[in-house]
């Protein structure tokens, strides 16, 4: 190990490497590489934590794992493999979520520094807050394909992870998904929602049937459509898609006919929608076209079934087959626990087949190009491509910056970016020229931070305030909230204490426009004043929003800095801020684990979910 050989490092660095305890959060692509570098450099006291298990698709880059390790804990196997490089290191492996309260501020304080190698924003936000609270240097890193970045986060010295608002996830208006899709992604989102309507966790926001409240369809046409529906069904009361499917015994033909014929006919009756659009074509299951129309892929992949375009007839067959398999699995689960349900997982063959088939059938109906299962998997699973080389480069830079920290040269820990192509100066691995100072208006790292949130105080419940605003949007773990003016407790992290009031609206609790809540998260040692702005809920608009987010969180000086900064394209750098190492929406079991931990990013859909805006 480098530190154990005289003459490799300076004495200062040698001693610091051999005596410093470091925490690595994440044992994925970057985490494996960091662990190797630490062990080879001669670190002797390392802790590594990851809640994930090993998947075959990790093996092209997470080189501490092999085929026989699939399904095992990443942290545990990474430890074993790294110990084979140097058996004299003490490595503690935790197969666990870092967001658990067990990993307290005091836990973080035992480390000389923390090295993040994470794949999701929720965990990054959390570790950011823990390191700020413990006043421990944090090295943040991420890659996506050929691009990657490394940055130091140190309280009071640099920007924190949350100083810059991150781009919100791509969302689509509900009526685009339900009524007027125009791109493949709209059909894929619809397919995923259909899966959840039939087999997943019930979510009224992710309906798949025609949206009669579409403002565009308003007027006589919409009314006549409603009448038609009333006549056909005998009553106007809506039945949920799942109830309908259950009543029909998940019959493939009946479901197909409802989804791809009757619902489409119903949409056609909303004439306003089709004045300037191509009309959709209702389909009958026994009259499906054999052609592969408007396919998006060429012929380069004949052999790989994932990359071969499917004809619509084939989509129909795959729809039936996957529907029946999913039905069996679902009924199996429900026979054991009637509240249990399936969780969509891109790596589950039937779940993926179902979404791919539904998306392509719907695309055909609306004259949208179809996609291969391979492409649909990328989009539906939010898969970020990942390669060994970029991870190796980034992890190398992480540990070089760790050396800087150990030598008390924090001012030298400039952010570094890595790209596919050199910039105009020929730079491929590009360090910034200095540290980025904290954003003085950041709602996380400045003193006495504040944030304004707009909600409908008559509709939003206390429970939703806790779950959707404080936990989901503002990334807290165990928040307590009191009214600033009166000191009345609104939300308590003590279990059961406030149960009686959880379903009251904010207005009923006396929380109105302008009310200030003092929110405190014990786990993160984080206090925040939340100013409530009342705004009436509107169709197709998010019902929860951070007010003046951009302007408040990003003073003008910062913008100039990031544009001028390293002489590089600031836009690209901002994009990079969002990069995650691995993956994708976590797999179903990972998601379950995450739910149990009330931790990690429950993928995509839980973030920033709003009633009428659909999140992929």
């Amino acid at each position: 190990m480098a530190a154990s050989i005289a003459g490799v490092f300076t004495d200062d660095l040698k001693n610091a490497v051999e005596t410093s305890k470091v925490l690595v959060v994440g044992a994925g692509g970057i985490g494996c590489e960091i662990l190797k570098n630490l062990v080879l450099s001669g670190f002797k006291d390392i802790e590594i934590i990851d809640l994930d298990t090993i998947d075959v698709s990790n093996l092209n880059r997470q080189f501490l794992f092999q085929k026989q390790h699939v399904g095992k804990s990443k942290a545990v196997v990474a430890r074993e493999s790294a110990l084979s490089f140097n058996p004299d290191v003490k490595i503690v492996a935790n197969h666990d979520s870092i967001i658990k309260p067990d990993y307290s501020v005091n836990y973080f304080k035992q480390f000389r520094m923390v090295l993040n190698a994470l794949d999701n924003r929720a965990a990054r936000n959390h570790v950011n807050r823990m390191c700020l609270a413990a006043d421990i240097p944090l090295i943040e890193s991420g890659t996506a394909g050929y691009d990657g970045q490394v940055e130091l986060i140190k309280k009071g010295m640099t920007k924190c992870y949350e100083c810059e608002p991150k781009a919100a996830q791509k969302t689509f208006p509900g009526c685009t998904i339900r009524n007027t899709p125009s791109e493949p992604i709209h059909c894929i989102v619809w397919g995923k929602h259909l899966f959840n309507q039939l087999f997943g966790e019930y979510d009224a926001d992710n309906d798949v049937s025609p949206d009669t409240e579409d403002p565009e369809a308003a007027g006589a046409a919409g009314e006549s459509a409603l009448k038609t529906k009333a006549n056909e069904q005998g009553d106007i009361e809506r039945v949920t898609t799942r109830q309908w499917a259950q009543q029909s015994g998940y019959d493939s033909a009946k479901l197909f006919h409802k989804l791809f014929h009757d619902d489409i006919k119903y949409l056609l009756s909303m004439h306003n929608l089709w004045e300037k659009r191509r009309k959709p074509t209702p389909l009958k299951m026994n009259e499906l076209p054999d052609a592969v129309a408007g396919s998006s892929k060429d012929n380069s992949a004949e052999g790989l079934k994932d990359q071969r375009p499917w004809s619509i007839v084939e989509c129909g067959q795959i729809f039936s087959r996957s529907l029946q398999s999913l039905k069996t699995k679902f009924e199996d689960l429900q026979s054991k626990n009637k509240d249990d349900h399936l969780v969509w997982d891109k790596d589950d063959k039937d779940a993926m087949d179902f979404v791919a088939a539904c998306a392509n059938i719907r695309a055909y109906i609306f004259g949208i190009p179809q996609k291969t299962r391979f492409d649909i998997k990328s989009m539906a699973g939010n898969i970020i491509p990942a390669i060994a080389t970029t991870n190796a480069i980034i992890a190398g830079l992480v540990v070089l910056n760790a050396f800087n920290i150990l030598q008390n040269r924090l001012e030298s820990c400039h952010s570094v970016y890595c790209r596919l192509r050199p910039n105009h100066r020929g730079q491929l691995i590009v360090p910034e020229r200095g540290l980025n100072p904290p954003n003085e208006k950041c709602y996380v790292c400045r003193d006495s931070p504040q944030i304004a949130v707009s909600v409908d105080v008559n509709k939003l419940t206390v429970k939703e305030l806790e779950e959707r605003v404080l936990k989901s949007l503002l990334n807290m773990v165990q928040p307590d909230a009191v009214k600033d003016s009166t000191g009345d407790v609104v939300i308590s992290s003590e279990e059961g204490e406030m149960e009686g009031t959880y379903h009251k609206s904010l207005a009923e609790m006396g929380i109105l426009d302008g009310t200030v809540l003092s929110v405190d998260d014990f786990v993160q040692n984080y206090s925040l004043q939340v100013i409530i702005n009342h705004r009436e809920a509107e169709h197709n608009k998010p019902d929860i929003e951070i007010v003046g987010d951009q302007s408040k969180c990003q003073p003008k000086a910062e913008e100039e800095k990031s544009n001028g900064g390293s002489g590089d394209n600031a836009e690209e750098e901002d994009d990079l801020m969002l990069l995650d190492e691995v993956e994708e929406t976590p797999s179903a079991k990972a998601e379950r684990k995450r739910k149990q931990d009330s931790a990690e990013e429950s993928p995509v859909s839980k973030k920033l979910r709003t009633s009428d805006v659909i999140v992929l």
Binding site: A6, S41, R61, S84, F85, T389, T390, Q427, P431
Partner: protein
């Protein structure tokens, strides 16, 4: 160059390589799987390249090294188990390299580069040489030029590292992003917004032999004009290659102070001969070149491996023709030298 193999990927390959196929495409993966790669020198940098290239899924990897694994290697050589120190590096690295990817055929070769006839090297699509004396590098590049084999070399000295590529005339597909106005049904105001459109174009790039890159005259144009702005890496490389040629080894932590003196002497000699001011290579840089630092092997090895992958898959523009990692600023830059 490899012809696109008509054989399809197996499901096992598609599954294991999924995340990279989503980046560089199926055709690239097929080209990789029919490529044979020779990796010369199995110290820290060689180990990183062996790891990355084996993970990527080429047809075969041959590890060539005639030296024995030493105590110093444990700074960065993670493919050699500790109980195999003293054994041949290539052989000692074989098992762990193979474990990285059972779908790649990995072999070890213990005979020195100089002892192999030219024909030996004809059996590869790419050759990557590390820890090689300059005369052998020049010989290998010449052999590669004659047989259109992609040639790479590189080294890590302490915190410093570099690589060179000679791909002769290289054809590749590059994905470029253009901004085009979109035609939508949206109102005119929205239509003005340009959307990025990705297209793939065929391009080619011409490389020069290693000799040209090593013989750059910085007193003549165009290099004399660049001298002021250019940083110390190229000159440091020249000093270190000279050290290797004259001492038949690299600067070693065990003989640090004697080697520092030798490096200073060579600095004077090399820079004076090139008519370069001595301050171009600061003394503190000379103190950073001992052993091979693991994280630096990872960085230079990552860049070098990606260049090999790009060349074999004919996907994306290669760096023409040198890359340097300067540890003073964590700066990695690409420079075209000798063209």
């Amino acid at each position: 160059m490899v012809e696109l193999n008509s054989n399809e990927l197996t499901d096992a390959e598609a599954e294991q390589y999924d995340r990279q196929i989503r980046l560089w495409g199926l055709d690239s993966q097929k080209r990789l799987r029919s490529s044979r790669v020779l990796i010369i020198g199995l110290k820290g940098l060689g180990a990183e390249v062996a790891k990355n290239i084996t993970l990527a899924g080429v047809k075969s990897v041959t590890l060539l090294d005639d030296g024995a694994a030493s105590q110093d290697d444990i700074c960065s050589q993670f493919l050699v188990p500790r109980d195999q120190i003293g054994k041949n590096r290539a052989e000692a690295s074989l098992a762990r390299t193979q474990n990285l990817n059972p779908m790649v055929n990995v072999t070890a070769e213990t005979c020195a580069v100089a002892d192999h006839p030219d024909e030996y090297f004809h059996a590869f699509e790419a050759i990557c040489a590390t820890k090689c004396p300059t005369d052998q590098l020049l010989r290998l590049d010449k052999i590669c030029r004659e047989k259109s084999i992609k040639f790479f070399c590189g080294d890590v000295f302490g915190f410093f590292g570099f690589m060179f590529a000679d791909l002769q005339t290289h054809e590749f597909a590059e994905e470029i992003t253009e901004f085009k106005p979109t035609a939508t049904e949206e109102p005119a105001a929205k239509r003005l917004k340009a959307e990025p459109v990705k297209t793939t174009v065929k391009r080619s790039s011409t490389f020069v032999p290693l000799q040209n890159a090593l013989d750059v005259d910085w007193t003549a144009e165009p290099y004399s004009k660049k001298l002021k702005k250019s940083e110390s890496s190229y000159f440091l490389m020249k000093i270190l290659l000279k050290f290797r040629s004259e001492n038949m080894r690299d600067p070693s932590p065990g003989t640090r102070s004697a080697d520092m003196e030798e490096l200073n002497r060579l600095k004077n000699e090399v820079l004076t001969k090139m008519s370069i001011p001595l301050e171009k290579v600061p003394d503190n840089l000379l103190s950073m070149v001992f052993a091979e630092i693991g994280p630096v092997c990872a960085i230079v090895g990552g860049v070098l491996s990606q260049e090999i992958i790009k060349a074999l898959s004919q996907h994306e523009a290669p760096h023409n023709n040198m890359f340097f990692f300067n540890p003073e600023r964590n700066l990695g830059h690409v420079e075209c030298l000798g063209a």
